[in-house]
Point group: C2
Chain length 248, copies 2
Amino acid sequence: MTRDTKGEQEFLDAYKPKEYPAIAVTADLVVFAVGSGALYTALVRRGGHPFKGELALPGGFVGSRESAEQAAYRELAEETGLDLGHLPVHVEQLATYSHPERDPRMRVVSVAHLALLATDGHSLPELSAGTDAAAAEWHPVHRVLEEPMAFDHAAILRDGLDRLAGKMEYTTVAARMLPREFTMTQLRTVYEAVWNTTLAAGNFTRKMTPQLDDTGRKTQAAAGGAPASLFTASDRHIHPPLAKPRTG
Amino acid sequence: MTRDTKGEQEFLDAYKPKEYPAIAVTADLVVFAVGSGALYTALVRRGGHPFKGELALPGGFVGSRESAEQAAYRELAEETGLDLGHLPVHVEQLATYSHPERDPRMRVVSVAHLALLATDGHSLPELSAGTDAAAAEWHPVHRVLEEPMAFDHAAILRDGLDRLAGKMEYTTVAARMLPREFTMTQLRTVYEAVWNTTLAAGNFTRKMTPQLDDTGRKTQAAAGGAPASLFTASDRHIHPPLAKPRTG
DNA sequence: TAAATAGTGTCTGTAAGACAGTATAAA
DNA sequence: TTTATACTGTCTTACAGACACTATTTA
Protein backbone atom coordinates (compact mmCIF):
# COMPACT_ATOMS: atom_id res chain seq x y z
CA MET A 1 0.00 0.00 0.00
CA THR A 2 1.47 3.36 -0.96
CA ARG A 3 1.60 6.28 1.40
CA ASP A 4 -1.10 8.06 -0.59
CA THR A 5 -3.65 5.26 -0.52
CA LYS A 6 -2.94 4.73 3.17
CA GLY A 7 -3.69 8.39 3.80
CA GLU A 8 -6.81 8.13 1.65
CA GLN A 9 -8.08 5.11 3.57
CA GLU A 10 -7.61 6.91 6.90
CA PHE A 11 -9.48 9.86 5.45
CA LEU A 12 -12.32 7.60 4.36
CA ASP A 13 -12.38 5.77 7.69
CA ALA A 14 -13.41 9.02 9.33
CA TYR A 15 -16.58 8.94 7.20
CA LYS A 16 -17.36 5.30 7.87
CA PRO A 17 -20.79 4.78 9.45
CA LYS A 18 -20.45 3.84 13.09
CA GLU A 19 -23.31 1.40 13.57
CA TYR A 20 -24.95 -1.02 11.20
CA PRO A 21 -26.00 -4.68 11.32
CA ALA A 22 -23.36 -7.10 10.03
CA ILE A 23 -25.15 -9.70 7.92
CA ALA A 24 -24.03 -12.95 6.32
CA VAL A 25 -24.49 -12.87 2.54
CA THR A 26 -24.66 -16.01 0.43
CA ALA A 27 -24.77 -16.62 -3.31
CA ASP A 28 -27.27 -19.37 -4.13
CA LEU A 29 -27.72 -21.02 -7.49
CA VAL A 30 -30.64 -22.23 -9.56
CA VAL A 31 -28.79 -24.39 -12.09
CA PHE A 32 -30.72 -25.51 -15.17
CA ALA A 33 -29.80 -27.91 -17.97
CA VAL A 34 -31.86 -29.80 -20.55
CA GLY A 35 -31.50 -33.58 -20.70
CA SER A 36 -33.60 -36.15 -22.59
CA GLY A 37 -36.32 -33.64 -23.43
CA ALA A 38 -36.87 -32.39 -19.89
CA LEU A 39 -35.57 -29.56 -17.74
CA TYR A 40 -33.33 -30.54 -14.84
CA THR A 41 -31.90 -28.64 -11.88
CA ALA A 42 -28.85 -29.41 -9.73
CA LEU A 43 -29.71 -29.80 -6.03
CA VAL A 44 -27.80 -30.88 -2.96
CA ARG A 45 -29.22 -32.91 -0.09
CA ARG A 46 -28.57 -31.29 3.28
CA GLY A 47 -26.36 -33.25 5.65
CA GLY A 48 -26.92 -31.13 8.78
CA HIS A 49 -29.74 -29.41 10.61
CA PRO A 50 -31.89 -27.54 9.99
CA PHE A 51 -33.79 -29.23 7.14
CA LYS A 52 -31.49 -32.26 7.42
CA GLY A 53 -32.02 -34.65 4.52
CA GLU A 54 -34.05 -32.20 2.44
CA LEU A 55 -33.13 -30.81 -0.96
CA ALA A 56 -31.47 -27.41 -1.18
CA LEU A 57 -29.96 -25.14 -3.80
CA PRO A 58 -26.17 -25.17 -4.10
CA GLY A 59 -24.52 -22.03 -2.76
CA GLY A 60 -22.31 -20.54 -0.09
CA PHE A 61 -21.01 -17.40 1.56
CA VAL A 62 -19.85 -14.43 -0.47
CA GLY A 63 -16.20 -13.80 0.36
CA SER A 64 -14.93 -10.43 1.47
CA ARG A 65 -13.08 -9.73 -1.78
CA GLU A 66 -15.53 -11.05 -4.37
CA SER A 67 -18.84 -9.96 -5.80
CA ALA A 68 -21.96 -12.08 -5.41
CA GLU A 69 -21.66 -13.09 -9.07
CA GLN A 70 -18.04 -14.19 -8.62
CA ALA A 71 -19.11 -16.17 -5.55
CA ALA A 72 -21.85 -17.81 -7.64
CA TYR A 73 -19.33 -18.96 -10.25
CA ARG A 74 -17.00 -20.23 -7.51
CA GLU A 75 -19.76 -22.12 -5.70
CA LEU A 76 -21.01 -23.57 -8.96
CA ALA A 77 -17.58 -25.06 -9.61
CA GLU A 78 -17.11 -26.22 -6.01
CA GLU A 79 -20.49 -27.88 -5.45
CA THR A 80 -20.90 -29.45 -8.87
CA GLY A 81 -17.28 -30.27 -9.70
CA LEU A 82 -17.87 -28.90 -13.21
CA ASP A 83 -14.97 -27.54 -15.22
CA LEU A 84 -16.29 -24.07 -15.94
CA GLY A 85 -13.20 -23.31 -17.99
CA HIS A 86 -14.50 -25.69 -20.65
CA LEU A 87 -18.27 -25.88 -20.13
CA PRO A 88 -20.16 -22.88 -21.50
CA VAL A 89 -22.28 -21.44 -18.69
CA HIS A 90 -24.55 -18.41 -18.49
CA VAL A 91 -24.98 -16.83 -15.03
CA GLU A 92 -27.28 -13.94 -14.22
CA GLN A 93 -28.67 -12.55 -11.02
CA LEU A 94 -32.18 -13.67 -10.13
CA ALA A 95 -33.24 -11.88 -6.94
CA THR A 96 -32.20 -11.35 -3.34
CA TYR A 97 -34.03 -13.09 -0.49
CA SER A 98 -33.80 -11.29 2.80
CA HIS A 99 -36.66 -12.26 5.10
CA PRO A 100 -35.14 -12.05 8.60
CA GLU A 101 -36.43 -15.51 9.60
CA ARG A 102 -35.55 -17.38 6.41
CA ASP A 103 -32.66 -19.19 8.10
CA PRO A 104 -33.58 -20.18 11.67
CA ARG A 105 -29.95 -20.18 12.80
CA MET A 106 -28.91 -16.64 11.92
CA ARG A 107 -29.47 -13.66 9.68
CA VAL A 108 -28.63 -14.62 6.10
CA VAL A 109 -29.33 -12.61 2.97
CA SER A 110 -29.09 -14.72 -0.19
CA VAL A 111 -28.41 -13.35 -3.64
CA ALA A 112 -29.89 -16.02 -5.92
CA HIS A 113 -28.46 -16.56 -9.39
CA LEU A 114 -29.74 -18.34 -12.47
CA ALA A 115 -27.12 -20.58 -14.11
CA LEU A 116 -27.72 -22.18 -17.51
CA LEU A 117 -25.45 -25.03 -18.60
CA ALA A 118 -24.95 -26.01 -22.23
CA THR A 119 -25.86 -29.60 -23.17
CA ASP A 120 -26.72 -31.37 -26.41
CA GLY A 121 -30.29 -31.68 -25.15
CA HIS A 122 -29.92 -35.39 -24.36
CA SER A 123 -27.22 -36.11 -21.75
CA LEU A 124 -26.68 -33.98 -18.67
CA PRO A 125 -23.21 -32.86 -17.55
CA GLU A 126 -21.86 -35.24 -14.93
CA LEU A 127 -21.85 -33.78 -11.43
CA SER A 128 -19.21 -34.73 -8.88
CA ALA A 129 -18.39 -33.55 -5.40
CA GLY A 130 -15.85 -30.76 -5.57
CA THR A 131 -14.05 -29.36 -2.55
CA ASP A 132 -17.22 -29.66 -0.48
CA ALA A 133 -18.41 -33.05 0.66
CA ALA A 134 -22.00 -32.82 -0.56
CA ALA A 135 -22.36 -33.38 -4.30
CA ALA A 136 -25.19 -31.93 -6.35
CA GLU A 137 -27.47 -34.22 -8.34
CA TRP A 138 -29.86 -33.59 -11.23
CA HIS A 139 -33.61 -33.52 -10.52
CA PRO A 140 -36.43 -33.00 -13.05
CA VAL A 141 -37.67 -29.48 -12.38
CA HIS A 142 -41.37 -29.95 -13.07
CA ARG A 143 -41.46 -32.90 -10.66
CA VAL A 144 -39.23 -31.58 -7.85
CA LEU A 145 -41.30 -28.39 -7.71
CA GLU A 146 -44.04 -30.49 -6.11
CA GLU A 147 -41.79 -31.48 -3.21
CA PRO A 148 -40.80 -29.45 -0.15
CA MET A 149 -37.31 -27.97 -0.03
CA ALA A 150 -35.06 -26.50 2.66
CA PHE A 151 -35.42 -22.84 3.70
CA ASP A 152 -37.25 -20.77 1.06
CA HIS A 153 -35.46 -22.62 -1.72
CA ALA A 154 -38.66 -23.96 -3.30
CA ALA A 155 -39.80 -20.37 -3.89
CA ILE A 156 -36.39 -19.44 -5.31
CA LEU A 157 -36.47 -22.40 -7.69
CA ARG A 158 -39.97 -21.42 -8.79
CA ASP A 159 -38.81 -17.83 -9.36
CA GLY A 160 -35.85 -19.09 -11.37
CA LEU A 161 -38.08 -21.18 -13.62
CA ASP A 162 -40.47 -18.27 -14.10
CA ARG A 163 -37.58 -15.99 -15.01
CA LEU A 164 -36.17 -18.43 -17.55
CA ALA A 165 -39.57 -19.23 -19.09
CA GLY A 166 -40.39 -15.54 -19.39
CA LYS A 167 -37.03 -14.46 -20.74
CA MET A 168 -37.17 -17.10 -23.46
CA GLU A 169 -40.20 -15.32 -24.87
CA TYR A 170 -38.27 -12.22 -25.83
CA THR A 171 -34.59 -13.20 -26.00
CA THR A 172 -32.47 -15.96 -27.50
CA VAL A 173 -31.23 -16.99 -24.04
CA ALA A 174 -32.48 -20.56 -24.67
CA ALA A 175 -29.49 -21.01 -26.98
CA ARG A 176 -27.25 -20.70 -23.90
CA MET A 177 -28.47 -24.19 -22.93
CA LEU A 178 -27.07 -25.71 -26.14
CA PRO A 179 -23.64 -26.01 -27.79
CA ARG A 180 -22.39 -23.00 -29.69
CA GLU A 181 -23.81 -24.50 -32.89
CA PHE A 182 -27.21 -26.16 -32.71
CA THR A 183 -30.13 -27.23 -34.87
CA MET A 184 -33.59 -25.74 -34.89
CA THR A 185 -34.96 -28.97 -33.41
CA GLN A 186 -32.51 -28.79 -30.50
CA LEU A 187 -33.59 -25.23 -29.77
CA ARG A 188 -37.26 -26.18 -29.97
CA THR A 189 -36.57 -29.01 -27.54
CA VAL A 190 -35.23 -26.48 -25.02
CA TYR A 191 -38.38 -24.38 -25.35
CA GLU A 192 -40.58 -27.43 -24.94
CA ALA A 193 -38.65 -28.63 -21.88
CA VAL A 194 -38.76 -25.27 -20.10
CA TRP A 195 -42.32 -24.39 -21.05
CA ASN A 196 -43.44 -27.98 -20.45
CA THR A 197 -45.43 -27.99 -23.66
CA THR A 198 -45.15 -28.89 -27.34
CA LEU A 199 -44.67 -26.44 -30.18
CA ALA A 200 -45.47 -26.74 -33.90
CA ALA A 201 -42.11 -27.40 -35.56
CA GLY A 202 -42.85 -25.58 -38.80
CA ASN A 203 -44.07 -22.34 -37.26
CA PHE A 204 -41.26 -22.39 -34.71
CA THR A 205 -38.70 -22.56 -37.50
CA ARG A 206 -40.32 -19.71 -39.40
CA LYS A 207 -40.45 -17.41 -36.38
CA MET A 208 -37.02 -18.25 -35.02
CA THR A 209 -34.93 -18.30 -38.21
CA PRO A 210 -34.52 -14.50 -38.52
CA GLN A 211 -33.35 -14.32 -34.87
CA LEU A 212 -30.44 -16.72 -35.45
CA ASP A 213 -27.27 -16.79 -37.51
CA ASP A 214 -27.12 -19.60 -40.09
CA THR A 215 -23.63 -21.10 -40.27
CA GLY A 216 -24.43 -22.50 -43.72
CA ARG A 217 -23.32 -25.95 -42.56
CA LYS A 218 -25.49 -28.96 -41.79
CA THR A 219 -25.44 -31.91 -39.42
CA GLN A 220 -24.73 -35.46 -40.49
CA ALA A 221 -28.27 -36.85 -40.54
CA ALA A 222 -28.82 -39.31 -37.69
CA ALA A 223 -31.26 -42.25 -37.80
CA GLY A 224 -33.60 -41.23 -40.62
CA GLY A 225 -34.42 -37.72 -41.65
CA ALA A 226 -32.81 -34.91 -43.55
CA PRO A 227 -29.66 -33.16 -42.28
CA ALA A 228 -30.44 -30.06 -40.24
CA SER A 229 -28.93 -26.60 -40.61
CA LEU A 230 -26.58 -25.47 -37.85
CA PHE A 231 -27.24 -22.10 -36.27
CA THR A 232 -25.49 -19.87 -33.79
CA ALA A 233 -27.10 -17.19 -31.64
CA SER A 234 -25.83 -13.99 -30.12
CA ASP A 235 -27.74 -12.69 -27.12
CA ARG A 236 -30.44 -10.77 -28.82
CA HIS A 237 -33.91 -9.41 -28.34
CA ILE A 238 -36.72 -11.13 -30.20
CA HIS A 239 -39.11 -8.55 -31.60
CA PRO A 240 -41.99 -9.13 -31.48
CA PRO A 241 -41.75 -11.73 -28.70
CA LEU A 242 -42.65 -15.37 -29.11
CA ALA A 243 -45.95 -16.04 -27.42
CA LYS A 244 -45.78 -18.74 -24.79
CA PRO A 245 -48.96 -20.83 -25.17
CA ARG A 246 -51.50 -19.85 -22.53
CA THR A 247 -51.90 -22.50 -19.87
CA GLY A 248 -54.95 -20.89 -18.23
CA MET B 1 -38.85 -16.73 24.71
CA THR B 2 -40.31 -20.04 25.82
CA ARG B 3 -38.23 -22.90 27.16
CA ASP B 4 -38.84 -24.87 23.95
CA THR B 5 -37.70 -22.17 21.55
CA LYS B 6 -34.68 -21.51 23.78
CA GLY B 7 -33.74 -25.16 23.54
CA GLU B 8 -34.33 -25.10 19.80
CA GLN B 9 -32.12 -22.06 19.36
CA GLU B 10 -29.29 -23.73 21.30
CA PHE B 11 -29.73 -26.78 19.10
CA LEU B 12 -29.54 -24.64 15.95
CA ASP B 13 -26.54 -22.71 17.29
CA ALA B 14 -24.56 -25.91 17.16
CA TYR B 15 -25.13 -25.99 13.39
CA LYS B 16 -24.27 -22.34 12.85
CA PRO B 17 -21.37 -21.84 10.43
CA LYS B 18 -18.26 -20.77 12.29
CA GLU B 19 -16.65 -18.37 9.83
CA TYR B 20 -18.13 -16.07 7.24
CA PRO B 21 -17.63 -12.44 6.24
CA ALA B 22 -19.98 -10.01 7.96
CA ILE B 23 -21.18 -7.51 5.36
CA ALA B 24 -23.18 -4.30 5.58
CA VAL B 25 -26.39 -4.51 3.56
CA THR B 26 -28.29 -1.44 2.38
CA ALA B 27 -31.63 -0.95 0.66
CA ASP B 28 -31.34 1.72 -2.03
CA LEU B 29 -34.22 3.24 -3.95
CA VAL B 30 -34.84 4.32 -7.51
CA VAL B 31 -37.96 6.45 -7.00
CA PHE B 32 -39.93 7.43 -10.09
CA ALA B 33 -42.89 9.76 -10.57
CA VAL B 34 -44.37 11.52 -13.58
CA GLY B 35 -44.75 15.29 -13.46
CA SER B 36 -45.60 17.75 -16.27
CA GLY B 37 -45.13 15.17 -18.99
CA ALA B 38 -41.66 14.02 -17.93
CA LEU B 39 -40.24 11.29 -15.72
CA TYR B 40 -38.60 12.40 -12.48
CA THR B 41 -36.51 10.63 -9.85
CA ALA B 42 -35.91 11.55 -6.21
CA LEU B 43 -32.21 12.02 -5.41
CA VAL B 44 -30.28 13.25 -2.38
CA ARG B 45 -27.11 15.32 -2.49
CA ARG B 46 -24.32 13.85 -0.42
CA GLY B 47 -23.17 15.93 2.53
CA GLY B 48 -20.06 13.89 3.45
CA HIS B 49 -17.17 12.17 1.76
CA PRO B 50 -16.76 10.22 -0.42
CA PHE B 51 -18.55 11.80 -3.41
CA LYS B 52 -19.35 14.87 -1.32
CA GLY B 53 -21.79 17.16 -3.11
CA GLU B 54 -22.75 14.60 -5.75
CA LEU B 55 -26.17 13.12 -6.34
CA ALA B 56 -27.02 9.74 -4.82
CA LEU B 57 -29.98 7.43 -4.51
CA PRO B 58 -31.90 7.54 -1.23
CA GLY B 59 -31.36 4.48 0.94
CA GLY B 60 -29.88 3.12 4.14
CA PHE B 61 -28.88 0.07 6.13
CA VAL B 62 -31.14 -2.94 6.39
CA GLY B 63 -31.96 -3.48 10.07
CA SER B 64 -31.44 -6.77 11.80
CA ARG B 65 -35.15 -7.56 12.08
CA GLU B 66 -36.46 -6.36 8.73
CA SER B 67 -36.29 -7.55 5.14
CA ALA B 68 -34.65 -5.49 2.43
CA GLU B 69 -38.10 -4.59 1.10
CA GLN B 70 -39.26 -3.42 4.52
CA ALA B 71 -36.08 -1.35 4.81
CA ALA B 72 -36.80 0.16 1.38
CA TYR B 73 -40.28 1.28 2.51
CA ARG B 74 -38.83 2.69 5.73
CA GLU B 75 -36.05 4.58 3.98
CA LEU B 76 -38.48 5.90 1.38
CA ALA B 77 -40.57 7.42 4.15
CA GLU B 78 -37.56 8.71 6.09
CA GLU B 79 -35.64 10.31 3.24
CA THR B 80 -38.58 11.78 1.34
CA GLY B 81 -40.89 12.64 4.22
CA LEU B 82 -43.78 11.15 2.23
CA ASP B 83 -46.81 9.78 4.04
CA LEU B 84 -46.82 6.26 2.64
CA GLY B 85 -49.99 5.51 4.56
CA HIS B 86 -51.88 7.77 2.17
CA LEU B 87 -49.79 7.92 -1.01
CA PRO B 88 -50.15 4.82 -3.21
CA VAL B 89 -46.67 3.43 -3.86
CA HIS B 90 -45.46 0.36 -5.72
CA VAL B 91 -42.12 -1.12 -4.57
CA GLU B 92 -40.35 -4.02 -6.21
CA GLN B 93 -36.83 -5.35 -6.05
CA LEU B 94 -34.53 -4.28 -8.86
CA ALA B 95 -31.16 -5.98 -8.39
CA THR B 96 -28.34 -6.37 -5.88
CA TYR B 97 -25.03 -4.57 -6.36
CA SER B 98 -22.11 -6.27 -4.66
CA HIS B 99 -18.82 -5.28 -6.29
CA PRO B 100 -16.32 -5.36 -3.41
CA GLU B 101 -14.93 -1.88 -4.25
CA ARG B 102 -18.22 -0.12 -4.91
CA ASP B 103 -17.98 1.82 -1.64
CA PRO B 104 -14.37 2.90 -0.97
CA ARG B 105 -14.93 3.02 2.80
CA MET B 106 -16.10 -0.53 3.48
CA ARG B 107 -17.80 -3.59 2.10
CA VAL B 108 -21.42 -2.72 1.29
CA VAL B 109 -23.92 -4.86 -0.63
CA SER B 110 -26.91 -2.85 -1.83
CA VAL B 111 -30.30 -4.30 -2.66
CA ALA B 112 -31.76 -1.75 -5.06
CA HIS B 113 -35.52 -1.28 -5.28
CA LEU B 114 -37.78 0.37 -7.82
CA ALA B 115 -40.44 2.60 -6.24
CA LEU B 116 -43.27 4.09 -8.28
CA LEU B 117 -45.29 6.95 -6.80
CA ALA B 118 -48.78 7.84 -7.94
CA THR B 119 -49.32 11.37 -9.30
CA ASP B 120 -51.91 13.03 -11.51
CA GLY B 121 -49.24 13.28 -14.22
CA HIS B 122 -48.74 17.02 -13.65
CA SER B 123 -47.59 17.89 -10.14
CA LEU B 124 -45.00 15.86 -8.24
CA PRO B 125 -45.46 14.85 -4.59
CA GLU B 126 -43.73 17.35 -2.34
CA LEU B 127 -40.55 15.99 -0.76
CA SER B 128 -39.41 17.09 2.67
CA ALA B 129 -36.59 16.04 4.95
CA GLY B 130 -37.79 13.31 7.28
CA THR B 131 -35.81 12.03 10.23
CA ASP B 132 -32.56 12.31 8.25
CA ALA B 133 -31.07 15.71 7.56
CA ALA B 134 -30.65 15.37 3.79
CA ALA B 135 -33.87 15.80 1.84
CA ALA B 136 -34.49 14.24 -1.54
CA GLU B 137 -35.34 16.41 -4.53
CA TRP B 138 -36.89 15.65 -7.91
CA HIS B 139 -34.64 15.52 -10.97
CA PRO B 140 -35.70 14.87 -14.59
CA VAL B 141 -34.49 11.34 -15.32
CA HIS B 142 -33.53 11.72 -18.96
CA ARG B 143 -31.36 14.74 -18.10
CA VAL B 144 -29.77 13.55 -14.85
CA LEU B 145 -28.68 10.32 -16.53
CA GLU B 146 -26.09 12.41 -18.39
CA GLU B 147 -24.47 13.54 -15.14
CA PRO B 148 -22.12 11.62 -12.85
CA MET B 149 -23.49 10.23 -9.59
CA ALA B 150 -22.00 8.90 -6.37
CA PHE B 151 -20.82 5.26 -6.13
CA ASP B 152 -22.38 3.07 -8.86
CA HIS B 153 -25.70 4.87 -8.50
CA ALA B 154 -25.77 6.09 -12.11
CA ALA B 155 -25.75 2.47 -13.28
CA ILE B 156 -28.48 1.56 -10.78
CA LEU B 157 -30.65 4.45 -11.96
CA ARG B 158 -30.11 3.36 -15.58
CA ASP B 159 -31.06 -0.23 -14.65
CA GLY B 160 -34.17 1.03 -12.88
CA LEU B 161 -35.28 3.00 -15.93
CA ASP B 162 -34.64 0.01 -18.21
CA ARG B 163 -36.65 -2.23 -15.91
CA LEU B 164 -39.60 0.16 -15.81
CA ALA B 165 -39.53 0.83 -19.56
CA GLY B 166 -39.39 -2.88 -20.31
CA LYS B 167 -42.04 -3.93 -17.81
CA MET B 168 -44.47 -1.38 -19.20
CA GLU B 169 -44.42 -3.27 -22.49
CA TYR B 170 -46.06 -6.35 -21.05
CA THR B 171 -47.81 -5.31 -17.84
CA THR B 172 -50.15 -2.54 -16.66
CA VAL B 173 -47.56 -1.37 -14.09
CA ALA B 174 -47.67 2.14 -15.60
CA ALA B 175 -51.04 2.58 -13.90
CA ARG B 176 -49.22 2.41 -10.55
CA MET B 177 -47.88 5.90 -11.35
CA LEU B 178 -51.41 7.34 -11.52
CA PRO B 179 -54.38 7.70 -9.14
CA ARG B 180 -56.58 4.64 -8.75
CA GLU B 181 -58.90 6.02 -11.44
CA PHE B 182 -57.29 7.61 -14.48
CA THR B 183 -57.99 8.55 -18.09
CA MET B 184 -56.49 6.97 -21.16
CA THR B 185 -54.62 10.20 -21.88
CA GLN B 186 -53.06 10.17 -18.42
CA LEU B 187 -51.87 6.63 -18.96
CA ARG B 188 -50.49 7.48 -22.39
CA THR B 189 -48.65 10.41 -20.80
CA VAL B 190 -46.91 7.98 -18.43
CA TYR B 191 -45.81 5.81 -21.34
CA GLU B 192 -44.55 8.82 -23.26
CA ALA B 193 -42.64 10.17 -20.25
CA VAL B 194 -40.93 6.86 -19.46
CA TRP B 195 -40.25 5.87 -23.05
CA ASN B 196 -39.29 9.47 -23.92
CA THR B 197 -41.33 9.30 -27.11
CA THR B 198 -44.79 10.10 -28.48
CA LEU B 199 -47.54 7.56 -29.19
CA ALA B 200 -50.54 7.73 -31.51
CA ALA B 201 -53.49 8.41 -29.21
CA GLY B 202 -56.10 6.47 -31.20
CA ASN B 203 -54.13 3.25 -31.53
CA PHE B 204 -53.01 3.45 -27.91
CA THR B 205 -56.64 3.58 -26.78
CA ARG B 206 -57.62 0.64 -28.95
CA LYS B 207 -54.77 -1.56 -27.71
CA MET B 208 -55.02 -0.61 -24.05
CA THR B 209 -58.78 -0.61 -23.54
CA PRO B 210 -59.17 -4.41 -23.20
CA GLN B 211 -56.38 -4.46 -20.57
CA LEU B 212 -58.20 -2.01 -18.26
CA ASP B 213 -61.44 -1.91 -16.30
CA ASP B 214 -63.86 0.84 -17.36
CA THR B 215 -65.56 2.42 -14.35
CA GLY B 216 -68.37 3.70 -16.61
CA ARG B 217 -67.85 7.21 -15.22
CA LYS B 218 -66.26 10.19 -16.95
CA THR B 219 -64.20 13.21 -15.99
CA GLN B 220 -65.52 16.75 -15.95
CA ALA B 221 -64.06 18.05 -19.21
CA ALA B 222 -61.31 20.61 -18.54
CA ALA B 223 -60.38 23.43 -20.89
CA GLY B 224 -61.82 22.26 -24.21
CA GLY B 225 -62.39 18.72 -25.27
CA ALA B 226 -64.76 15.91 -24.51
CA PRO B 227 -64.95 14.28 -21.06
CA ALA B 228 -62.74 11.21 -20.80
CA SER B 229 -63.67 7.79 -19.46
CA LEU B 230 -62.19 6.80 -16.13
CA PHE B 231 -60.43 3.45 -15.91
CA THR B 232 -58.89 1.33 -13.18
CA ALA B 233 -56.22 -1.33 -13.63
CA SER B 234 -55.31 -4.43 -11.73
CA ASP B 235 -51.75 -5.68 -12.12
CA ARG B 236 -52.10 -7.73 -15.22
CA HIS B 237 -50.15 -9.15 -18.09
CA ILE B 238 -50.66 -7.57 -21.49
CA HIS B 239 -50.83 -10.25 -24.13
CA PRO B 240 -49.47 -9.73 -26.69
CA PRO B 241 -47.15 -7.04 -25.37
CA LEU B 242 -47.20 -3.43 -26.49
CA ALA B 243 -44.28 -2.77 -28.77
CA LYS B 244 -42.05 0.02 -27.59
CA PRO B 245 -41.06 2.00 -30.71
CA ARG B 246 -37.58 1.05 -31.83
CA THR B 247 -35.06 3.78 -31.13
CA GLY B 248 -32.22 2.17 -33.14
C1' DT C 1 -39.57 -48.13 -50.79
C1' DA C 2 -40.70 -47.17 -46.21
C1' DA C 3 -39.79 -44.33 -42.33
C1' DA C 4 -38.16 -40.38 -40.12
C1' DT C 5 -36.84 -35.83 -39.84
C1' DA C 6 -36.14 -30.97 -42.00
C1' DG C 7 -38.04 -27.42 -44.05
C1' DT C 8 -41.56 -24.67 -47.14
C1' DG C 9 -46.07 -23.18 -48.90
C1' DT C 10 -50.70 -21.81 -48.22
C1' DC C 11 -54.79 -20.33 -46.09
C1' DT C 12 -57.37 -17.79 -42.58
C1' DG C 13 -58.05 -14.77 -38.90
C1' DT C 14 -56.47 -11.21 -36.09
C1' DA C 15 -54.23 -7.14 -35.06
C1' DA C 16 -50.86 -3.35 -35.68
C1' DG C 17 -49.91 1.16 -37.67
C1' DA C 18 -51.54 5.11 -40.24
C1' DC C 19 -54.81 8.39 -40.36
C1' DA C 20 -59.32 10.24 -41.50
C1' DG C 21 -63.45 11.24 -39.47
C1' DT C 22 -66.95 11.96 -35.69
C1' DA C 23 -68.45 13.29 -30.95
C1' DT C 24 -68.44 16.20 -26.94
C1' DA C 25 -67.63 20.11 -24.39
C1' DA C 26 -65.37 24.82 -23.15
C1' DA C 27 -64.25 29.53 -24.58
C1' DT D 1 -68.28 28.98 -34.20
C1' DT D 2 -63.87 27.94 -33.08
C1' DT D 3 -60.88 25.09 -30.64
C1' DA D 4 -59.39 21.32 -28.12
C1' DT D 5 -59.71 16.85 -26.69
C1' DA D 6 -61.82 12.02 -26.81
C1' DC D 7 -62.91 8.38 -29.37
C1' DT D 8 -64.20 5.34 -33.56
C1' DG D 9 -63.87 3.63 -38.25
C1' DT D 10 -61.30 2.13 -42.20
C1' DC D 11 -57.63 0.61 -44.93
C1' DT D 12 -53.39 -1.80 -45.64
C1' DT D 13 -49.88 -4.73 -44.29
C1' DA D 14 -48.02 -8.27 -41.54
C1' DC D 15 -47.77 -12.17 -39.05
C1' DA D 16 -49.50 -16.01 -35.97
C1' DG D 17 -51.52 -20.53 -35.99
C1' DA D 18 -52.98 -24.58 -38.47
C1' DC D 19 -51.56 -27.93 -41.42
C1' DA D 20 -50.58 -29.90 -45.89
C1' DC D 21 -46.84 -30.74 -48.72
C1' DT D 22 -42.01 -31.37 -50.48
C1' DA D 23 -37.12 -32.55 -49.68
C1' DT D 24 -33.42 -35.28 -47.90
C1' DT D 25 -31.51 -38.78 -45.67
C1' DT D 26 -31.14 -43.81 -43.33
C1' DA D 27 -32.68 -48.52 -42.91
